[in-house]
Amino acid sequence: MRQRFFTQDRLFIAVILIPLLLFIALLIYVPAVDTFNTSLTNRNLRINRPPEFLAFENYARLLQDDEFWEVTGRSLVVVALVLPIEMTIAFAAALLLNERFPGRAVVRTLAILPWMVPPVVNGFLWGWLLNGEYGALNGLLYQFGLIGEYRSWLRDPNEQLLWVAVVQAWTRFSFPTIVLLAGLQGIPDELYDAARVDGASVWSQLTRITFPLLLPSFAIALVVEFIAAFQIFDVVWTLTAGGSAGGQINPFTRTLMLYNYELVFRDLRVGLGAALSYLILLMSLGVGFIFVRRLYNQGIKE
């Protein structure tokens, strides 16, 4: 009987997995390899000539180009701005939602709504809130006497990145909140009881018990949010990129993904764009590997 199931199982696995793996191979991995090959050429759709093989010249060119470093730096700045804002809010929200009080379920349900907002709408939404002439933020601050006159929040290039980060944190904070909340609920109450008996203050309970025990949850949230912020596209596109397809992209918020879009689909410098996408891939690889290993350990291995 075991034998019968053995061959039957193999067929079952093959029928389910092989088409799926082929499908993924054809639509993801083959194009990925092809993109790599393209990255070794000077393929350019604007110029009608057969692409020449350049070896790693595109990569060298990007790495020597100030613009590449500027854009990379800007993406890292976005990450560096998003993560602290987002994690602080998420930690505070998780602590709140971990308390028992009437109405907690409602608060929890409503607090995840920003997460549901399509990123494109998100950018538009905040663009309207921050509008210099009629924006609601201006109205609110004016009415509370916090500003004397309306101002254009998105005009100053130095502030644009900050707003991109705020908007990203607004839409994404629910995810770390949920992860941290699950972590909080896993901490046994006895630990706090014991600490209270020993006369520990609320603050030292927070720093000695809550925070250390939440580190794994923080790690998960940070990895996922790092990837999301590093590869930010839609929000920038609608908030500060300043254009529909084909237009100039605002250089002050041009992050890696926008730069890549610009190189390939606007400038049609496909070879160079392909090289850039591989550089981005290399930069995400480390973080990505940690991520996948965690998934495997948690999901499959017993």
């Binding site: 039957q8 199982d9 079952f12 799926l20 793996l21 993924i24 639509l27 993801i28 990925a32 092809d34 790599f36 505070a92 929200a93 709140l96 308390e99 009080f101 109405g103 349900t109 409503l110 709504l113 997460w115 549901m116 399509p118 494109v120 709408v121 538009f124 939404l125 905040w126 809130l129 002439e133 009629y134 609601a136 109205g139 006159e149 309306y150 607004w170 995810f175 909340l181 699950a182 996922v224 990837i227 839609d234 596109w237 397809a245 993904m257 390939v264 689909f265 392909a274 996408s277 591989y278 981005i280 891939l281 995400s284 690889l285 991520f291 996948v292 998934l295 495997y296 999901g299 499959i300």
Partner: protein, 292 residues
């Protein structure tokens, strides 16, 4: 004095904190909603804003579907038919792709959760590895591949792409979900001589239904909200989904924010309804097993 005891103080503090949290989370959404039902005069009032319209109106929603979104200085972007076609495209592509994904993910999830075989880890890594990577690496050549297959600018092409890019997360979700289902019933059916297909159909499908709902909803949300893929892979207005249509409204002139707001509300509405009615499934799916 009793009013100010520790218990009440704690509650007061919690509600204050809840208010701050909800203000941060909901104020922007509230404002877009108010903008969509305000008349122009009130909406553009300054410096004091009108925080709720004295006469709420649905005119902007009607305008959106009849004449199209206007520009601030008069004139209209040619959007009359765009809203309806965008909604139709979004609906078709996201529902169909999510249904396909759910079936695939349940089958593959079962295989990864229950079966031992050579190459399991390799094939799992093969599937998952694309998830955290920037999709650009594949996207550039994928664009040429799709062009050659004549799938650019079609619903079918978009569906295919949504399925591919949602597969890893969905398979992973289903495999963790199925692993948590006790296997005794399957073992019993096994002994009774059921084969794997019967098992999958008559035992796993019913038992894994909550997981399948979660996978379906996550895929639906991801597809509905997607922007980059349709931006690159569609061109004509009648194929483009709502997210792309929305950006078409923003032309070289300042948009009429009240019309834009109405369009934005319509785009946000389906995800919101999903969140309000299926929160448990959706959160479980989206938090990728971080919450059990």
């Amino acid at each position: 004095m009793t009013w100010f005891n520790a218990k009440r103080r704690r509650l007061l503090l919690l509600y204050l904190a809840s208010f701050i949290l909800l203000f941060w989370a909901l104020a922007p959404i509230y404002w877009v909603f108010v903008s969509s039902i305000s008349n122009r005069i009130e909406l553009y009032a300054r410096p004091y804003k009108v925080w709720f319209p004295s006469e709420p109106t649905l005119d902007h929603y009607i305008t959106l579907f009849t004449t199209g979104a206007g520009y601030r200085d008069g004139g209209f972007s040619p959007t009359a038919g765009l809203m309806a076609s965008g909604m139709r495209s979004s609906l078709i592509t996201s529902v169909v792709s999510s249904a396909i994904i759910t079936v695939i993910a349940t089958g593959a999830g079962y295989v990864f959760a229950r079966m031992k075989f050579r190459g399991k880890q390799v094939s799992f890594y093969f599937l998952m590895f694309m998830m955290p990577l920037p999709i650009w690496a594949a996207l550039i050549s994928l664009f040429f591949l799709m062009t050659r297959l004549n799938l650019i600018d079609t619903h079918l092409g978009l569906i295919l792409l949504y399925v591919v890019f949602s597969t890893p997360l969905s398979v992973w979700l289903m495999s963790t979900f199925i692993r948590d289902i006790p296997s005794e019933i399957e073992d019993a059916a096994f002994v009774d001589g059921a084969n794997r297909w019967q098992l999958l159909w008559s035992i796993v499908f019913p038992l894994a239904r909550p997981g399948m709902i979660a996978v379906f909803l996550v895929a639906l949300l991801t597809a509905w909200n997607n922007f980059l893929l349709p931006l690159i892979f569609t061109r004509s207005a009648d194929v483009q989904p709502l997210t792309v249509v929305l950006t078409l409204f923003i032309g070289q002139y300042e948009v009429a924010w009240e019309d834009m707001s109405a369009a934005a509300v319509l785009t946000m509405l389906p995800p919101f309804l999903m969140a309000l009615f299926f929160q448990r499934y959706l959160v479980r799916g989206l938090s990728m097993g971080a919450v059990k």
